[in-house]
Symmetry: C2
Subunit: 412 residues, 2 copies
């Protein structure tokens, strides 16, 4: 076994730079397919929204100064000179003493600077209108460009598109949206003892857990999983599978093989390629120490630990930020403050990730540490999130307020 | 215009019951397609995980009592009687004074009750092993059923399947997963002034914003949008479109038509069907008052307000809980505590939803209220979440700690 320094989490993150993506990594997709894709450039509005001054109520467009002093007992009198129809350009304009009916969303006619709601107006006959309440300038009008001005950035580059962004983009006329192509990822599960869920199982074997959990996480992040295979612990077989993966994918994930022998296997496969480089053989992190990270050309290969919980924590702390970096995004976990119910200990000299379960209380969130033996999948499926203790911390005391990074949706 | 009582949020929620879904609303799908689908029954483990007692380290299986007192200077002696190979059933068992090599994940042989890591052992020759450290009973062993016991519920009914659940389900042998069929939803945008993003726009018209924002929210919730159409304000046209929607979908959403005339239109269309019922014509909620909810048979029709922000708030507060209820899920928004930077006012007698923007501080989250005129889409795309003030509250004071329900992912 070659000797490689075990890097700290900070050290390995510092050397995990990715190249900015090229124009060929971008594509235009229809707006109705854009949910959760990531914009590849700033999206500007080519016209103002609203495009014209609109009424936000059903009522009458008037000159606001002429409503001053109007009351129930002393209303103002107006001459009704027309009606604006929805979706049509208002041909009318109003002069002094005139009013025009405008429905919600209709265009404000020239000369008017306020709307009076129908509740405060009364039509005496076809031409005469009484108004019982003053309406200040601008009342109930949404002005041209109030929502978005021409040229405004409505969705900035490298943003994961939300439903609200979809509405804005549609409103601004984007029938297609510029996004990054989905990152192609290969997932290779290794180990003589691993059996796929579709195959029969027998004592001594275990089912591939990591492959499916990783598939789920990758889909959540918008990646395209171009390969998901299971390979026995044979050097040539693993080498040819990794070669195929490097040809087809932008990023290669290996999982399984936590034993020392298998770890060497993985690193030897990585270094067997031309232009390869082993960035680290082990990370000072708990759980997740037996992690191998290498590069072949510009493509990263990450050898995840075999234990499911460890593999997924390395995925969340190292692989996910790498995937986001390809799209120009900087990962910062969403954290909530919570009161810790028990002392927790950090592993000496290691970045420690302590899984916790959140429960609501009247004062906010409370978190209980969850312990499980190495390798348990239930650790993650039961956890709400984790506390990250750096390699300089000794632990956290019961009763202290800690930052919990969310792993999944939490139902109160 | 017929008179209908405006209900409170609590009242309308109380009358929005849905029928439990039938067997015909469930389906089996391949595990690799299961992300974010919702389980239609409890998923049990048909065997224990692990299926056998496994080593969690590379090392030697021994009887722990025989390591008591071992030190660097006075090691214990063991006879090496074999090796367990990965993925194979251990044929060996150990007697007193014996040890067997077991790799990480390998099966613990009979007679052994602890593992000693290779770091604390030394092979003198092919048959002789020195152990330098005591290993307590159970050390470095993951016992049969430690993660999941036979018969345990691994993913309960009505749970949205996470990547971690996918791993667990695969581990338990679920190559197919029982889920609810996607709820079929129709989205109908109405209004003479509305133009689809794919059509040319002219002054006086506005683009369909709500249709796309709703499409995004529905996809996020796992629904299948079976119809997304734009209809002019003509009674017969709207009626025939709603009829088609009722035939094809489980739930019908109408959006647009905030003017009084259009609102009547929507309610008249609903009541024109046999077995129809108008549940409410207006809700005491801000924003979102002009909301119409009806039923035709067992299918709900929701007429959302035309203003985008109002429509989406009604979607999130009323339609989303309804959609989740079809799958047996109870919606509770995920909230974080935040310090409010300004006084906010509740509308008298109404449930008020105040959009806010969250920013991190050293003591936790701080939230600023966001104000915008009616109908602005940017209100929602810029908001992190909202404060819900009930119809009995008058508002919240600057400096007070409020619960912010998250609208979208927040990047610190």
């Amino acid at each position: 076994m070659e000797f490689f320094k075990t890097l700290t989490l900070t050290e390995i993150k510092a050397c995990l730079a990715v190249l900015p993506r090229h124009d060929s990594d971008m594509e235009m997709i229809p707006i109705d397919q854009a949910l959760h894709r990531v914009t590849s450039r700033d999206c500007h509005a080519s016209y103002a929204i609203p495009m014209f001054n609109r009424s936000t109520v059903d009522g009458y467009a008037i000159k606001s100064v002429e409503t001053i002093g109007s009351t129930d007992s002393i209303p103002s009198f107006f001459t009704l000179v027309g009606e604006v129809r929805m979706g049509e350009i208002s041909k009318n304009s109003i002069a002094e003493g005139e009013a025009i009916y405008v429905p919600t969303g209709g265009m404000i006619p020239e000369g008017a600077d306020a709307m009076v709601m129908i509740e405060y107006a009364e039509k005496i006959d076809d031409e005469t209108l009484l108004i019982y309440k003053p309406s200040p300038p601008g009342a109930h009008i949404s002005y041209r460009g109030d929502d978005v001005d021409e040229g405004d950035v409505i969705v900035s580059k490298s943003k994961k598109i939300t439903p609200y962004d979809m509405g804005l983009l549609a409103g601004a006329g984007y029938k297609e949206v510029p996004v990054f192509k989905r990152l192609k990822v290969a997932v290779i599960s290794t180990g003589d003892e691993i059996v796929d869920v579709s195959d029969p199982i027998e004592i001594g074997k275990i089912r591939d857990v990591n492959g499916y959990a990783l598939l789920g996480r990758l889909k959540e992040l918008g990646c395209e999983v171009v390969m998901k295979v299971l390979v026995k612990d044979q050097f040539e077989l693993l080498q040819s599978t990794v070669k195929e993966a490097l040809d087809r994918a932008d990023l290669v994930l290996l999982s399984g093989g936590s034993s020392v022998g298998t770890r060497d296997f993985t690193s030897n496969v990585i270094t067997s390629f031309e232009k390869s480089e082993l960035l680290t053989h082990g990370i000072a992190i708990k759980p997740g120490k037996p992690t191998i990270i290498g590069k072949v050309g510009e493509k990263h290969i990450v050898g995840l630990p075999g234990h499911p919980a460890s593999a997924l924590i390395i995925f969340n702390t190292i692989v996910m930020p790498l995937i986001l970096a390809y799209e120009g995004r900087v990962y910062k976990p969403f954290t909530v403050k919570a009161v810790l119910t028990e002392n927790v200990h950090a592993a000496a000299g290691k970045d420690t990730f302590q899984m916790v379960h959140l429960t609501p209380s009247s004062d906010g969130w409370v978190c209980d540490p969850i312990y499980a033996k190495s390798g348990m999948m239930t650790l993650l499926s039961n956890a709400s999130g984790y506390i990250h203790m750096t390699n300089e911390e000794e632990g956290k005391r019961a009763g202290s307020i800690v930052d919990v990074a969310l792993l999944q949706e939490v139902q109160a």
